[in-house]
Symmetry: C2
C-alpha cells in the first residue's frame, strides 16, 4: 500500500503545487477530465498564460496530466499523486502516534491529552 520513496525535491514540488488556491481549484475541476486549458482558464480572473503556468506547475508535480485532443490539451487530475501526498501526512501522524505512546511521554501528559 505504500507507494513512496518520492525524493525531497518531488515532495517539495507536490506541496508547493498545492499551496495555491487557484491550483487546488484546478485539481478539483480536472478530476472528471475533459477540460482544456483554455476551458479551465475561462473560470479565473487572470490571463490564459497565467493559468497555463499553474497547470504546468501541477504537471511538474505529477498532480495532473495533459493529453492532446486535436488542438486542445485535456487536463486530468492524477488521483494517485494526491494519495501520495496524503500518505506523507499519514506517516507523520503515525510517527506522532508511535512516539507519544512511549511511557515517558504518557507520564508527562495530562490524562485527557493522550488523545
Amino acid at each position: 500500500m505504500v507507494v513512496d520513496t518520492l525524493s525531497d525535491e518531488q515532495v517539495d514540488l507536490l506541496f508547493h503545487a498545492l499551496a495555491d488556491a487557484t491550483r487546488r481549484d484546478i485539481v478539483k475541476r480536472a478530476i472528471r477530465g475533459g477540460h482544456s486549458v483554455s476551458d479551465l482558464a475561462s473560470g479565473y480572473a487572470m490571463s490564459f498564460a497565467a493559468v497555463q503556468k499553474h497547470v504546468a506547475v501541477l504537471e511538474r508535480a505529477g498532480l495532473v496530466t495533459k493529453t492532446q485532443n486535436g488542438r486542445e490539451r485535456l487536463v486530468r487530475t492524477d488521483i494517485a499523486t494526491i494519495n501520495q501526498a496524503a500518505e506523507l501526512l499519514d506517516e507523520i501522524e503515525e510517527l506522532w502516534r508511535s512516539r507519544v505512546s512511549r511511557m515517558s511521554d504518557l507520564l508527562a501528559l495530562d490524562p485527557g491529552e493522550t488523545q
Copy 2:
C-alpha cells in the same frame, strides 16, 4: 470529525510550510517536543537565523507552537494541523470517488479500474 473551514490563505500557508524538506524535518523532530530553536538549528547546515525563519513559517501555518522555558523556546508539532492538511487531501479523493462513480464515467473505464 470535520474540523475545517480553514480559509484559502490558511491552506496556502499550510501547504507552503510543508513544501520544504528542512521544515518537514523540523515538524518530525518537534513531534516529541522539548527541542529549543537552537537545538533544532544545530542539526542543519545553515545559520541559526535561517532555522528561526523556518520555525516562524511553521508557526504561522499552525504546524508548531512555541512555549517559553527560561531563555529558550520549546518547539512542538501541532498534530491537529497535520490532520487538517490530510483531511483536505481526503476531500479531494472523496470528490474523485463520487464523481467517478457516475454512470458516464463507469462506462468509460476498464472493469478493474473502478477501484
